[in-house]
């Protein structure tokens, strides 16, 4: 039995008919066609699907679309404004914090939330925060560097 869900995504009110078992990430990708949020696993481990729900980073594969009813959801597509990269995105570019790019949206969304909670994270704090984000390409070295630089840019 389809249900109707309504929420605000990237500042726009949206609604759609979904099966109750539909995950938030499916609603975002398939109903809203926002394909920047990726699916890399089926056990909520990889973090490629991280979005912000009411300002907090959440793996959108662990949430049913229905659970996000009435929420403010922000995806990777919301970060850049008028083609200008968000400081965290710019830091990833400047520090080569991405290779294939598949884990990148989740990494960036997770990093932005980290800096909100901890404006000046140490290398160790960054590495621990990224526990839920898997990257196979970069060895994390430049992701950590990017987040350090991104945090600094966000502070200033």
């Amino acid at each position: 039995m389809p249900v109707t869900v309504s929420m605000t995504v990237n500042g726009k009110a949206v609604s759609g008919e979904v099966e109750p078992r539909t995950l938030l990430v499916q609603f975002i990708r398939e109903n809203l066609k926002l394909t920047g949020t990726h699916v890399g696993c089926d056990t909520s481990q990889c973090g490629a699907c991280v979005v912000h729900i009411d300002g907090t980073s959440v793996k959108s594969c662990t949430v049913l679309a229905m659970q996000a009813e009435g929420s403010e959801v922000n995806t990777i597509e919301s970060l850049a404004t008028n083609d200008e990269l968000h400081p965290m995105q710019a830091a990833f570019r400047e520090n080569h914090g991405l290779q294939c790019g598949f884990c990148t949206p989740g990494m960036v969304m997770s990093a932005v939330d980290l800096v909100k909670e901890n404006p000046d994270p140490s290398e160790q704090e960054i590495r621990e925060w990224l526990e839920g984000n898997i990257c196979r390409c970069t060895g994390y070295h430049n992701i950590v560097k990017s987040i350090k630089a991104g945090a600094e840019a966000m502070r200033s």
């Binding site: 099966e19 078992r21 990708r29 926002l34 394909t35 920047g36 949020t37 990726h38 699916v39 890399g40 696993c41 089926d42 056990t43 481990q45 990889c46 490629a48 995806t75 990777i76 597509e77 970060l79 850049a80 990269l85 995105q89 990833f92 570019r93 400047e94 080569h96 991405l98 290779q99 294939c100 790019g101 598949f102 884990c103 990148t104 949206p105 960036v108 290398e123 960054i126 590495r127 621990e128 925060w129 990224l130 526990e131 984000n133 898997i134 990257c135 196979r136 390409c137 970069t138 060895g139 994390y140 070295h141 430049n142 992701i143 950590v144």
Partner: protein, 790 residues
């Protein structure tokens, strides 16, 4: 070096779309009228199929069609192939039992596909797949490669006696045995190279699409080599003739080898699209990736190194059992043979080498190339032996390496195992590594650690690899079924900007930037005015794809050749317009100039003249668009030394990497930022193999590490920061002088890491530690050593 030419760390052109969520990965693509596929897979490692009842599935809501292996066979769709022929010691061709894309009467590993269910939605396809009733009769299974060789082992294929794929050898056995006879010391080791699961973060996916009007098929696929996929799907699987098949590999989210191969799912989706006259899309769930992406490594070796009284290596003797899995994947056979044993000389002058390899079938997922492919296994054998020999003979491990390294004046150096190394300076990389890692200060750091109750160890890995594969004639002589050249096309547009087409494929390597840098340097065009097109068989004329660290050395060289042709033609056009002799025209920094004058034309102006040829030399074709094919003269041989330093808590066995130094010689470096990133990623995979990752099957062939919950991927908190440096001896054999950088980290790191762990524990009586050296494994090893000492 200009600010954006070869040698500059140009920020990547591809990043904006990836950072803003605007990449086009396969699952982001949806075609009009698309249906969704789900595969029915074997839950058993070995079973006879007594029957498949699809009636309930066919009638399930939304289901469009259900197909089994019989339907494929009825349509004449050929089995999946292995494209590299290996000849056994006795002259027999390797054993290659049929590998149907959908199993017909027997399943041979957990995850073996038996049917495809196609439905209007993915959920309906999955629900439908649940309704397919397969009557399995379980058979005994074998998962261990050594177990598969025992006389009592079940047979994976009735037509593969002894489960043997091949029994191959390389090197001179008699000469090697003789070298051991005169040895002052022999180091013996049993070495297991643990089985790995590649786990690119983007799962494999495919969309097959049929155009009824043109009778054309298109396959969207997560491929590292779309033209090879088209060739195989046409010539061997018979899905469509080559000219009626387009293969598109869009943005691909990492490959590491696992996306080279032509798999069952892609083949079946493409075939099924014509059957149902709708696009058919499949995206692997991660659990399917674990079960079906070709795994890597899985070698069991007995290895011996003979040394004389001065520590000079006299001979190396290795026997390796290599697991092929249940069927032969596309290039499976060449990995534990020509990509492995031909590298067993390492960086050393070992005069006599013999290796024999038994490749065996087991009831496990097929095994094929994974980042490094054979070369990590070779390096692990050599570098564990060398380190162990140093310890056994009381020599400094760095010095033992140094006295055995191929000296700088010995290049080109012919090894006893086919390869001829082009150039290198192995001692220079070792020196830089010793300096950067502060080897001199290690003793102090060790005693400081001891005071804190920690065991500290240092380990080396002086590796070599063969990259830039490879000269086509050599490939053919060694059994390869393809040529391994590359193509490049440079098309100036009339307004002076450039579109380049390459047969290489980028899935993280940054070719859109580095290839633009190559062309910018050669032709004096701004990087921002160069667009790189790849991954579409209808756009790029042909190509062999990206693997084996070949894109810059082979694909980049093809672009250099095409650039030379552009300049050659530009000379003629400029000479005509500038009213000078062609011999007097010089081309520098993008300008054609009459020597000694200020008469000049930019290459953009020449391009415009070529497309608007009002004032144009007679006999010269309009247009400025050149193509080139480049067949390499030899492999290239990147090499270097990595040094790993660990601290171990002896009470828990937990290993922490406290320093990691990587000094690599990749020849000319096009974009240092990107090259360093490749090293970081490779080292993380190598450290992952050494400390975390291990694919585990139980005795019944069940995959116990089938998810990210069970298989330990390197995470940000479990891999170290990496100190990267480079030495540079440009390869004399290609126009760029490049050697390849994609695999070095994964090749070097396992030996460096395990050598460090063993060094830390040597005084406790530990002589070896298995990979992955998890806290549990290390703790057990410490306890066993303590018990043995009692």
């Amino acid at each position: 070096m200009t600010s954006e030419g070869i040698g500059a760390s140009v920020r990547r052109k591809e990043d904006y779309r990836f950072l803003t969520g605007n990449g086009h990965y396969l699952d982001d693509i949806n075609r009009q009228g698309q249906a969704h596929a789900s595969f029915v897979r074997s839950p058993h490692a070995a079973a006879k199929i007594n029957g498949i009842d699809i009636s309930n599935a066919t009638n399930a809501p939304g289901v469009i069609a259900v197909f089994t292996g019989k339907d494929l066979a009825d349509d004449g769709i050929g089995p999946l192939i292995c494209g590299w022929a290996i000849t056994s010691k006795n002259g027999d061709a390797h054993n290659a039992p049929a590998h149907p894309a959908l199993a017909v009467d027997t399943v041979r590993y957990v995850g073996d596909a038996v049917a495809i269910v196609i439905a209007e939605t993915l959920e309906q396809a999955k629900d439908g797949a649940e309704q397919v009733a397969v009557d399995y009769e379980e058979l005994p299974a074998v998962a261990s490669p050594v177990g598969a060789m025992s006389a009592s082992s079940p047979l994976v294929h009735d037509d593969a006696p002894g489960n043997l794929c091949y029994d191959w050898e390389i090197g001179d056995k008699a000469e090697t045995d003789a070298a051991f006879e005169k040895a002052a010391h022999v180091t013996h080791m049993d070495i297991v190279n643990n089985r790995l699961i590649p786990n690119a973060v983007e799962p494999r996916a495919a969309i097959g699409e049929y155009d009824v009007g043109g009778d054309n098929l298109t396959l969207y696929t997560t491929s590292q080599n779309p033209h090879v996929a088209r060739l195989v799907l046409s010539a061997f699987n018979g899905v469509a003739p080559e000219h009626k098949l387009r293969v598109i590999a869009p943005d691909v989210g990492g490959g590491f080898g696992s996306k080279i191969f032509i798999y069952a799912e892609e083949t079946v989706c493409l075939w099924a699209a014509r059957k149902v006259r709708q696009p058919v899309k499949w995206t692997a769930a991660r659990s399917e990736s674990f079960q079906t992406d070709a795994h890597g490594r899985d070698h069991v070796s007995k290895a011996e190194l003979a040394l004389d009284a001065d520590g000079k290596f006299l001979g190396l003797r290795v026997n390796t059992v290599a697991n092929m899995g249940a069927y032969l994947s596309t290039f499976a056979t060449c990995v534990p043979s020509y990509l492995y044993a031909t590298l067993l000389a390492g960086q050393y002058t070992t005069p006599a080498i013999y290796c024999d390899v038994q490749a065996v079938f087991t009831n496990t997922t097929p095994v094929d190339a994974y980042r490094g492919a054979g070369r990590p296994e070779a390096t692990f054998v050599i570098e564990r032996l060398v380190e162990q020999a140093a310890k056994e003979t009381g020599r400094d491990p760095a010095e033992l390496r140094r006295i055995n390294m191929v000296p700088v004046d010995a290049f080109p150096y012919q090894t006893p195992v086919i390869q001829q190394y082009d150039c290198g300076n192995y001692g220079a990389a070792l020196d830089v590594a010793l300096d950067k890692a502060d080897y001199a200060g290690f003793a102090q750091r060790r005693s400081d650690a001891e005071a804190r109750g920690k065991r500290r160890g240092i380990g080396f890995s002086s590796y070599i690899e063969a990259c830039g594969i490879a000269p086509s004639a050599a490939v053919g002589a060694l059994g390869g079924g393809v040529g391994l050249w590359e193509s490049g096309q440079i098309r100036f547009n009339p307004t002076g900007n450039v579109t380049i087409f390459t047969g290489s494929h980028s899935h993280g390597q940054g070719h859109e930037t580095t290839f633009a840098q190559i062309v910018a340097t050669r032709l004096g065009v701004a990087v921002e005015n160069v667009e790189v097109v790849h991954g579409d068989t209808d756009k790029v004329m042909f190509g062999m794809g990206t693997y084996g660290s070949r894109s810059a050395a082979v694909g980049g060289s093809a672009l250099c050749k095409a650039a030379d042709k552009i300049v050659e033609k530009g000379m003629k056009i400029a000479a005509h317009i500038l009213e000078a002799s062609e011999d007097d025209i010089e081309f520098t920094d993008g300008n054609f100039t009459v020597a000694g004058t200020d008469k000049t034309m930019s290459i953009g102006e020449v391009a415009f003249a070529a497309y608007v040829p009002h004032n144009y030399p007679e006999g010269v074709e309009p247009g400025l668009n050149e193509t080139a094919f480049y067949d390499p003269l030899n492999f290239s041989f990147p090499a270097g030394t990595h040094i790993c330093e660990v601290e171990i808590d002896p009470d828990t066995g937990s290993v922490e990497i406290v320093n990691y130094t990587a000094i690599d010689d990749f020849g000319t470096v096009i974009n240092p930022m990107i090259v360093e990133g490749q090293v970081h990623g490779g080292v993380a995979q190598g450290v992952g193999q050494a400390l975390l990752e291990g694919c585990v099957y139980d005795d019944a062939g069940q995959l116990l590490t089938g998810s990210f919950m069970d298989y330990a991927m390197p995470r940000a908190s479990t891999v170290p920061s990496i100190d990267v440096g480079m030495t540079e001896t440009p390869s004399p054999l290609n126009p760029l002088g490049v050697k390849g950088c994609g695999e070095a980290g994964a090749i070097a790191a396992p030996a460096a890491t395990i050598n460090a762990v063993v060094d830390a524990l040597w005084d406790l009586g530990v002589r070896d530690v298995p990979m992955p050296a998890t806290a549990s494994a290390v703790w057990q090893t410490i306890q066993s050593a303590a018990q043995a000492a009692e």
